[in-house]
Subunit: 289 residues, 2 copies
Amino acid sequence: MSEPHPHFERIAIIGVGLIGGSIALAAKARGLTSHVIGHGRSADRLQLAQKLGIIDSYATHLSLIKNADLIVVCTPVDRIAVDVMMLLALTNNESTLITDVGSVKDNIVREVQNIADHERYIGSHPLAGSHHTGFEYADVNLFENRVCVLTPTEVNSSTHIETIRGFWSALGMNVRSMTSVDHDQTLSRTSHIPHLVAAATALLVDETAIDLASSGYRDTTRVAVGDPDLWTAIFNENASHLMDSTDQLIKTLTQFKKAISNKDSATLKKMLEQAQRLRKLYHEETPQS
Amino acid sequence: MSEPHPHFERIAIIGVGLIGGSIALAAKARGLTSHVIGHGRSADRLQLAQKLGIIDSYATHLSLIKNADLIVVCTPVDRIAVDVMMLLALTNNESTLITDVGSVKDNIVREVQNIADHERYIGSHPLAGSHHTGFEYADVNLFENRVCVLTPTEVNSSTHIETIRGFWSALGMNVRSMTSVDHDQTLSRTSHIPHLVAAATALLVDETAIDLASSGYRDTTRVAVGDPDLWTAIFNENASHLMDSTDQLIKTLTQFKKAISNKDSATLKKMLEQAQRLRKLYHEETPQS
């Protein structure tokens, strides 16, 4: 990776949590900027983040985010579109690029198209995270070897796309581009269905049965402990693709049920073998985001 | 736990794999017997198990299993009923107790009732295991603090039940009794559905999408790498309860879909909160079998 890295005079992080904090740390550690300004609702929290060396300055109003070359919006997924639109309106500076880290992209990309100079916005989804929340868990290596998806549109110049690509690449990520629709369709299966299914499976096992839970239960339901607000927002943002994928999942479960009902061991085994084969693809190439 | 432990002159293990080998090691380490005889199809493998000190002697024919006080059948779940019935017929010794480790119980319990002196058989399901197979991975502490379910019937004497209970208890297990039907109904939700769902979710993500797989995918699909033969047998053995539980799961997924479709965030969040609450019950009391 000997591509030249972009350099930014000032990077603004909107929403200084685990992801935002990790971006701030990683961007400075890798020499992409010498100044990160953090934005959030709580001055106390931002002051603490500054004291911990995660950000260099802070603001509690979006209108105070001036002179940043790059703004990374790390707010909850159902807030991002509004924040991006406000920032596009507030920063009428040709050289201010805006991106975000939302895990659902199409709603955001489509809403932002209502704003005049939306060519300064390019959607990003860095597939990295943790079950922790808060900048106290910020990790300078969070993005290392993970995948980042960009969802540029035809209005984005190749120069802007290369700058955003270079940014994530400099944080250690493998960057790829796809349409926001393809992204959301794929993520509905690779991320949102796994969460939905974990929750649905957890709902089948109540107090009376929990001490007979197997290691299969432990793994399959693990992410059901995730934040209900966060996941309600993600499910709503990706509603149409998630409903399609849920139908596909129900269809697969119904095929399993039919094979079991028919005592059709050959089909049952073939389906389990195919699932095993697909699951084994995971380790070789994957970011474990 | 100051109950007196039972003692056995000879314990026979039918099927010396990970579970059978671990039982052999644990029974000797805890002074429950000084002689374990292993049974299997391959003399070479049994010889190796003997050389490794896991068993003391071996036989490749069931008819050679004589003079054991306790026989533990650890063969694949769809073989167990036949093995137990043959062993009941072959050991017409009042003092030979037979149990098994099958993860589905009702088929076995009902089939065994066709044999004359089936009061010598009591079904067991030690909820312990590993993704490894083979006695090379036998672990003397595999059963420590895990749950073991017994499924006695009205023909079993309390003396026999106490002996089998004492055996598993001496291996460090928390033993509880329930009917074979209740066992299978519960396990369909706490073990078999988690596996079915993991496989169904893995089937949604092919080569083209795998590098966008999230940590949710990683956890939720982890057990889909399990042995297809083993799980085909388990699903078949527990067919009727598993079909009921699959219906229940599909119903829950449909409720999720309806809430997403209706943009009913309140219901969606309530369901995710309930799933989170139930999943959090797991750590406190559970064996992580």
